[in-house]
Subunit: 337 residues, 2 copies
């Protein structure tokens, strides 16, 4: 298994990406190609004492796509950027997956342009996994498609369900439509039309649709795939992140308030730190772009080495799971007519 | 000050509403009219040993609007329901505010139909306050209007800013547009057009617009009013609720894991319970419907007596703040042309 890493993507590139690559080859039995400015990348490898690591190779890319580039045109305009070259290598079969912590928009348009969508899939979607006490819940889409049609949402439902089954191990994923109430009359035109499509697919036995779900239900374990447009999904995902951070900060502060609570904090600290990992991008790794014909994983922009290594592990798992061929096999089930 | 309470609204009506009324008159120097089935309401008053309380009166309403009624038509069809009569009394000046824990949709359409919108306001909006370490952040809209125009959002911005100033005490509220990125090109057509309107109003000195804000920023204290359509706002609000509940549950569980952590839990428990109140509907009280020409406050459906009393306190504060006349006075500032 060979993973292509965009060495220049993310806030801490290339150092964190290179260090993550070194950690990943040691831990997960993968080969890695680092794509980026060769001198910088090799300097980082020397820093990690990995200049001679035979599982890591370097491909030179003179240019970098950064946050100031227009995501829609960056890939076309910067043909020699690390992300562009990484995706071209993936398309031509020089590796099994691309991992990048760079611009989400550029990676998405690049994946579509160079990696290509699976035949029959209208739009690729970002599908992070929210923690719960069961298999976790796939949230699809969470930012790739601001404006969606009911058909996109139907396809997201299927893709999310295959991901839940093949990667999270949920035997029969329950799919819910994100809405502002559970009645089938809730929401706008998009939700009402998507509801009807999902209901029909469910009646035909093609998917297991449980109806509308409210945002407060996503952690309940009663829903395995939460389907929504990229705008609401992004708002939900970032709202969750913000709430968890705010609450953890307040907890820390309130525990430091009295001598008694400080003592208590010492005693509960170990357990709480384990908990923090649940909402930690560094632990959960990257977000797959579902609907692309090759494995493309977006790592968090703020990824440290550990987060990059997690994303590599996730890329490997994604390739091995066969979720792409499952989507390809069932493309006719997602037809609307 | 006389508050009209829908005695039959909410999961725990009428007992919790009546008990809340008794608590409120004792604590907040208000008179209360309980509207509902007189025999049931009087029985509850006797339970609370408040049958002779001279600050509490009862108005009989034979009918009840429940969750099975269509929100759009319930008020028109059930003319003798407690909510309908409460709103009619408000419109005719028999009280200063209505508080109801009943159907949100019915209360909103009733408030618009009977209470009337402020002249020039296109749509009323629900505006709950999210906790932060400064004044709190007004989230407007959070469910009243699934489909919005840019003009609605502009008006929400102004109404939210007056609420933040008059009620939360924020001297110069910073208004942000909820979006999936901070660049002005982000979002769909609605966000782009609303951004332009808000930017113009800001340049004219009519409002203080700080640009797009992502959902993870709502607790930062850097934004005092978060403007969005009712769909995304509802998703965000319920996502926050769900995350806080899930996290609190996990914390409790993780603290019970070992003898050491159990002991620690005893020591930090008191401080954590204080924290829990921040996200507790019972503490924060109700949500005002901004844009209506009279004070209408929606209490949470699951309100207990304490939550009802909080909502009464909030209704009183809302009336005293003069936020409605501030909105009326500045209606020309909200013009789009």
């Amino acid at each position: 298994m060979k993973i292509i890493l965009d060495a220049m993507g993310g806030d801490n590139a290339p150092a964190a990406v290179v260090e993550g690559a070194v950690q990943a080859v040691a831990a997960y039995d993968v080969d890695i190609v680092l794509v980026g400015r060769e001198d910088e990348v090799r300097a980082c490898l020397r820093e990690c004492e990995a200049a001679e690591n035979e599982r890591i190779s370097v491909v030179h890319a003179p240019d970098v796509i950064d946050m100031h580039d227009d995501p829609a045109t960056a890939i076309r305009e910067k043909k020699e950027a690390s992300m562009t070259i990484a995706l071209r290598m993936l398309a031509s079969g020089e590796g099994d997956a691309v991992v990048s912590a760079g611009s989400t928009g550029a990676l998405l348009s690049g994946a579509t342009l160079i990696g290509k969508r699976i035949r029959g899939i209208r739009r690729a979607a970002m599908a992070p996994v929210l923690p719960n006490e069961k298999y976790g819940a796939v949230l699809i889409d969470c930012g790739a498609n601001v404006e969606c049609t009911p058909e996109y949402l139907l396809q997201f439902a299927f893709m999310g369900a295959f991901y839940s089954k093949q990667i999270l191990g949920c035997p029969e994923p329950k799919v819910g439509l994100l809405n502002i109430g559970t009645e089938d009359t809730k929401g706008g035109e998009l939700q009402k039309a998507a509801y009807a499509l999902l209901q029909k697919a469910s009646e035909d036995g093609r998917i297991r649709f449980i109806g509308n779900v409210e945002a407060r239900e996503v952690f309940s374990g009663n829903v395995d795939v939460v389907v929504t447009d990229g705008f609401s999904g992004n708002v939900l995902l970032k709202g969750i992140e913000g709430t968890a951070l705010f609450l953890m900060k307040l907890i820390k502060k309130s525990m430091m308030r009295t001598i008694v609570s400080k003592l208590g904090a010492l005693l509960v600290g170990k357990e709480l730190r384990k908990l923090k990992k649940l909402f930690d991008a560094g632990e959960t790794g990257g977000t797959p772009m579902l609907g692309i014909s090759k494995a493309v994983i977006k790592a968090h922009g703020s990824s440290d080495a550990r987060a990059i290594a997690s994303a590599v592990r996730q890329a490997k798992q994604f390739v091995e799971s066969g979720v792409i061929s499952e989507i390809e096999k069932h493309i006719d089930d997602m037809k609307t007519a």
